[in-house]
Structure formats: structure tokens, C-alpha cells
């Protein structure tokens, strides 16, 4: 496995692999990162009331990228009030006018795609090919899609005159900072709500960049407000009595805390939480395609994906063959500088997350599962974790039950479709699943019995703004995207 150091001047581990490419780094000069950023409230950048700040790092190098204002309760108060003031006019705008604002935002995101891709890769650590080809185009597509809904809400199936809720408090995670922002803000604005959004502490930059997109689009002040900070900022936002809607994507534990917190209020809530997706491979599956799907399922975005296919369930008769192919394929993955266009696996988002992955994988080894990684040299600075397989995993093992949120795949086997379904459904989560088989009736029957909000058959980790996404069971409630996603922001 080639593993170029984040610093392109240092030589990659040449000669180890026939796939050793020369470094092909994307230039970071396309984006200017200011040394410090304030909060974006009522159309202005502003300091936090108590002057607190925190730093955001590049996970690949641990370089400090910028200093960010930490919003406290007073700042949240100001942001919610700004959103409340803006709500009256924004919700009264004809849908066709709101649509054009969303359309403008979508176009600006496309125009500034390269800047955004580089910025997101720097701040998050994910490979540039993913930000360039997935995150940014999908984010733009979400604004396009919802622009089209803004003037057609009466046709969406929620009654003849669906009304917005008011101020939406939105808290998003660090794994897809820009895309999650788009998933939250686009439907909120299309339906006539105003927004206070809190990006994750480790990845605030693309949200602050988005504030500039709003400025360029001429979006009225206060319609979108960005408050940066940690969990305490998010908690203050969710708890604010003037908030009408709470949308959260993140851990199941925090989701449950939010569900308790809003109990007895009239706040409408949607929660997109964790997962432990089963990727089920039957003996008649096209194995080469399945291997690609397994890799996409768990190693996309370093496995830091709530719907990752983190449990491979493979039919016993093809298990050895599949695992061998999978190991061979993993040997060709390139880990290293996220800004290198050839990089497949970038950095883990934070030291804290890396520690969590390490802890859970140590438990996996201690509980008796067999751990395997391709030969892999990790860069000397930054947060890195090699793609890892656990075989010989039993259902009770921690690595089969707990979400690891990293590039770690647990492999289990099964003999019959019934066993596959039973094992797939045997976690408290229910977000995603995969089915690999050439037999259509088997695919449909198994998909039907899986308790998961998204089932990918003979593919994995596909997303689209028109396609509702969300979980069963403890993976949360509500859907994002598609006609279904509008419901979360309408008074129905």
C-alpha cells in the first residue's frame, strides 16, 4: 500500500506496490482561510459575547487553520432572535421568490466548488476526490432540488396550505460538514423557516464559508445564522424556548438527550443518529462488484458515515473467497495526504475520534476477533487509522454491536437467508443495509424484511436529494430528502 506523507516533498513509500503513483496534490491556494472567524448572526460576522474562541485543525497535519468564536447562551439568544425577526418576512415571501434564493445559492456553490472542496478537505481530513466529486456537488444538488419545492408545497401531499414552523435549530456533525448543512438548510428555507445552525466544533469552516455564499446570494439578514461552538452551544440552541423545530444529526446518545429535552414542548424534532449497517453478501452475488461495494460501504469517508456498511454478513460458502478478494483489494487502497487526488483514505477527523476508534478496535482484538490490516505506513503527523478487518466476529462482540465510526469492518458469516436477516436486524440501530445477490426475488424478499431506512441492493452508499434518508429504531426519526423530508419543516 502506497502511503504518501501529507507533505508531498517527502518521498512516498516507493517500490512497495505496483500502484505507487507520484503525488498529485490539489493546490490549497484557491482558498483563503482567515486567521479568525466570528459568529454569523443577522447577516453580520460578530465576536462571541464573552470573547471565547477555539481552534480548528487540519486533521491530516495538525496544523491550526483558524480561530473560531465559541458561542455562548447570549449569542444563541441573539441568533434565535434574529431568526425570529427574519421569519415573518421570509415566510411571507412568495414561494417563487424563495425558490430563486435557493437557486442562487446552488449556483454559487457550483461556481465556488473548487474552493469549497479544498476547504472541506483541509478542515475535515477527507480525500479531495470525495469533497470534489461527492460532498460539494451533492450539496449544490440539495439546494437545486429544494428550490423547486419552494413554490410547489401545496402539491407535496401535506394539505392545500402547509405552513412553516418558524425558527429551526439545526445541529450537524463533522463527517459531512457542508453536505449536512445543505440537508438541513435547503428544506428549511424552501418551506419558509429561518435557521440557526451549529456546525461541529472540529469542522466549522465550510459553514462559515456558506455565510459568505448567503451574502453573495443576497439572502435577507437573519434567515440563516451560524453559531459555532461545542456541545454546550448546541444544547443551548436546542433548549431555547423560541425554537420551533429541532433537527439533529449525530450520535444516538445525544439524540436521546434531545428527545428527552424537548418532551412536553411543541418543538418538532427529527433525529438522524447512529447505525451499524449490515452488508449481506449471498453466494450468488457478483463477488467483484460486492468487493467494491463493501469497500465503498465502509471505507468511504474513512468509515465516518452513520450509514456505513460496518458489518459484513457473508454466506459461509463464499466467505473465504470473498475475504481473500477483499484483502487483496484493500492492499491497493492509498492512504495519505487528503489533498492528493489519488488518495482513497484520508485522515480521521480528530484526535478524540481516533482515540475512540483505537479503543473499540482494542476491545475487538481482546474479545477474540481476528484483526487484519494491509501493510500500511501511516504519516507521522495527523490522525490516521489503517483500513481494518475483523474476522471471526460473533454477534455478541462489541465490534458487531457498537458503532465504531471509522474504517473498521467486522465480518460475520451466515448459512441461510433467515439467518442473514436475523443477524442483520440484531442491533438497536436501523439505518442502512446492503444486499448482494443476482436473484431478484431474493433481493426483494430480504430487503423487505430488513429493519432499515435505506437498503442498497447490489450497490452501497448512494445518495440523492430526491431520495428520503433516515432510520428505523434507535437510528432516529424523520426523513431527510425527497418529498418526505419536507414534512420535518411543515406544520402538519
Amino acid at each position: 500500500m502506497a502511503s504518501p506523507h501529507p507533505d508531498p516533498s517527502s518521498a512516498p513509500a516507493a517500490g512497495r506496490s505496483p500502484f505507487a503513483y507520484a503525488p498529485a496534490p490539489e493546490s490549497r491556494s484557491v482558498v483563503d482561510i482567515a486567521p479568525s472567524y466570528g459568529l454569523f448572526i443577522d447577516g453580520e460576522f460578530t465576536e462571541a459575547a464573552d470573547g471565547k474562541v477555539f481552534k480548528t485543525l487540519a486533521p491530516a497535519t495538525e496544523e491550526v487553520l483558524s480561530e473560531i468564536a465559541q458561542a455562548g447562551e447570549q449569542d444563541v439568544e441573539r441568533a434565535v432572535r434574529a431568526a425570529r425577526r427574519a421569519f415573518e418576512k421570509w415566510s411571507a415571501l412568495p414561494g417563487a421568490e424563495r425558490a430563486k434564493y435557493l437557486f442562487r445559492i446552488a449556483r454559487i456553490l457550483q461556481e465556488r466548488a473548487r474552493e469549497l472542496a479544498v476547504l472541506e478537505t483541509l478542515d475535515n481530513g477527507k480525500p479531495i476526490k470525495e469533497t470534489r466529486d461527492f460532498d460539494v456537488p451533492q450539496a449544490a444538488a440539495h439546494f437545486f432540488y429544494h428550490a423547486g419545492w419552494a413554490d410547489k408545497l401545496e402539491h407535496a401531499g401535506f394539505g392545500p396550505a402547509p405552513r412553516p414552523l418558524g425558527v429551526a435549530a439545526q445541529v450537524i456533525p463533522w463527517n459531512f460538514p457542508l453536505l449536512m448543512l445543505a440537508w438541513k438548510i435547503a428544506p428549511a428555507l424552501a418551506t419558509g423557516n429561518t435557521v440557526v445552525l451549529k456546525p461541529a466544533e472540529t469542522t466549522p469552516l465550510s459553514a462559515l464559508f456558506f455565510a459568505d455564499v448567503c451574502r453573495q446570494a443576497g439572502l435577507p439578514k437573519g434567515v440563516v445564522n451560524i453559531v459555532t461552538g461545542d456541545g454546550t452551544t448546541g444544547a443551548a440552541l436546542v433548549a431555547h424556548p423560541e425554537v420551533d423545530k429541532v433537527a439533529f444529526t449525530g450520535s444516538t446518545d445525544v439524540g436521546k438527550a434531545i428527545a428527552r429535552q424537548v418532551a412536553g414542548t411543541r418543538k418538532k424534532v427529527t433525529l438522524e443518529l447512529g447505525g451499524k449497517g449490515a452488508n449481506i453478501v449471498f453466494d450468488d452475488a457478483p463477488l467483484d462488484q460486492a468487493v467494491e461495494g463493501i469497500v465503498t460501504g465502509i471505507f468511504f469517508n474513512q468509515g465516518q458515515v452513520c450509514c456505513a456498511g460496518s458489518r459484513l454478513l457473508v454466506q459461509e460458502s463464499v466467505a473465504d473467497e470473498l475475504i481473500e478478494s477483499l484483502k487483496r483489494r484493500l492492499g491497493t487502497l492509498r492512504l495519505g495526504d487528503p489533498l492528493d487526488k489519488n488518495t482513497d483514505i484520508g485522515a480521521i477527523n480528530s484526535a478524540q475520534q481516533l482515540a475512540k476508534i483505537r479503543e473499540l478496535t482494542e476491545i475487538g482484538a481482546a474479545e477474540g476477533a481476528e484483526r487484519w490490516s494491509p501493510e500500511c505506513e501511516l504519516p507521522s503527523s495527523g490522525y490516521w487509522f489503517p483500513p481494518t478487518l475483523f474476522t471471526g466476529v460473533a454477534q455478541a462482540h462489541t465490534v458487531a454491536q457498537d458503532e465504531i465510526f471509522g474504517p473498521v469492518l467486522s465480518v460475520l458469516t451466515f448459512r441461510t437467508p433467515d439467518e442473514a436477516v436475523a443477524k442483520a436486524n440484531n442491533t438497536p440501530y436501523g439505518l442502512s443495509a446492503g444486499v448482494w445477490t443476482e436473484k431478484g426475488s431474493r433481493m426483494l424478499a430480504v430487503a423487505d424484511r430488513l429493519r432499515a431506512g435505506v437498503v442498497w441492493a447490489n450497490t452501497f452508499n448512494k445518495f440523492d436529494p430526491t431520495s428520503p434518508f433516515g432510520g428505523y429504531k434507535e437510528s432516529g426519526y424523520g426523513r431527510e430528502g425527497g418529498r418526505h423530508g419536507l414534512e420535518a419543516y411543515l406544520d402538519v
Binding site: 401531499g157 412536553g264 432499515a452 431506512g453 442498497w456 447490489n458 450497490t459 428520503p468 434518508f469 428505523y472
Partner: protein, 301 residues
Amino acid sequence: MSDSSGQGRLTVLKTYKLYVGGKFPRSESGRVYEVTDAKGRWLANAPLSSRKDARDAVVAARKAVGGWSGAAAYNRGQVLYRIAEMLQGRADQFTREVADAEGLSKSKAAAVVEAAIDRWVWYAGWTDKIAQVVGGANPVAGPYFNHSVPEPTGVVAVLAPRESSLLGLVSVVAPVVATGNTAVVVASEDRPLPALSLAEVLATSDVPGGVVNVLSGRTAEIAAPLAAHQDVNGIDLTGADAALAKDLEIAAADNLKRVLRPAGTAADWTADPGTRRMTAFLETKTVWHPTGALGVAGSSY
């Protein structure tokens, strides 16, 4: 309860029982409580369900999920229509019970019963239509078959409204089972008799045992274990007051149950219910499958 003291024949009283797993058990607790009519006159002793009864009902409801949710929507519709037929056949009995429970005149009670029957018919018709209305194909930007289908969330605890003993009850139970969920119903605390009699209708209407389970007793006492139960997937808080509803919603967060909050104001059960009570306990499953890329070469499928 007609009083025939004095002259003539003495009326046979009825022992009201719970309905759990298709059977009519007494409460495990051996307790009952007095149910009175609107004027405070004794009507019957109703079972005072315990936490154990609630747990037993969840077990029965869970057992029934596979069969009921897996049944063809058309078939579920047939069963629900059958319930309406049985209700119609017992309209006089329900009219008497509703009149007693709610203190209505006979004609008003009859109108309520008719509305309840019509409501069953309305929901029965939804079983094989809701998927078309809330599901559908998603035109994704790629060569994929992609569609979304609604699926029942599983076992739903239903706290029936306190005032409307039959129409309100039907209005909260029918949408839950029409969509393929199974239900553990907590009858109105003060007016439980129509609910317990509805169980007799369900038992004779081809409804598989466990699909609807009916408990009577103290709402707060029965609802607490249901809201906290890890094998309950959703809870309808209609019959809880604001303070209780808040506590139950907090308990329900432990396994992220789907929660339908009580309406802030007194509900008008005669109004068009819309689809909300059905969609509250439906999940959306989206399935993707490659369709093969029909590029210019047209060769990759």
C-alpha cells in the same frame, strides 16, 4: 345497566375482562375498580390492569407483528371491514354503553356509534392505499431503481382519549392497525366499557390474536411501563394529560419510540382525521438497485 329490582327478572351482569393475545383474561393483579355512568351510578367492575398485564400485552403484540405486518394490505382491509360489520351488528349494545359512559341521549349516542363504524370503514379503505400515497419512486440522478415504501413501526402503545369512549377510541386504534402495526390500547380510565366491548368485536372479526390488546385501569399506572418498554416502538399519548404526557415522552426517548403528542386542545373526533395518525407510526424504507447504465454503447446490463 337496567335495574330490574322489584318485579320481574333480574338482569345477568357481565364481568368485563381484558383482551390480550386474542384471549380474555382477568387482570393478573386480581384487582378491579368501579366504573360508573355519567351520573355516578355503578355500571360494572372493570379490571384494574397491572404493569405485568401491560408487559404481557406487549409480548402478545410483538408476537403478532410478523403476521399482521406481513399480511397483504388487501387482506388487512378485509379484516378491518369485517370489524365494521360486527360493530354495526352490535350497534344497539354500543349505543347503550356510550350513552351510559358519556351521559348522552340515546339518539346522540347512536350518532356517535354510527360515526365510529364509519371511521372503521374509512381506515379499512386506507390499508391498501397509504403506500401509494406516501410512498413512491424517487427520480435519482443515476441509473438506479429507487423507491420508498412505508412500513409499520411495530408495536404501538395507544392511550385512548379520556372523553370519547368509542369514537375517540376507534379514531386512535384504527390508524395504528390499518398500517400494519399491532397495538396495546389503554382504555379511557373513566369510560372503559365500550373499549372492553370493542375487544369482543375484534375477537369475532378475524383479527389475529395480539394485533389489538385492550387494557383497562389507571392510565398513568399502565402507561409508565409501556412508555419505558424496550420492545414498544411507538406511543400515542392522546389520553395523557400534559404532565403525564411529558413524563411518558421522556421515558419513550430511551429507545427513541415514535411519539404522537396529545393535541393541546380538546379534540373534535368528528372532524376529518387526515393521514397524520397513520404516518406517525410508519417508517419509510428506501431501496436502491442498479438498473444498468444505458449509455451510448448500451451494453452494461
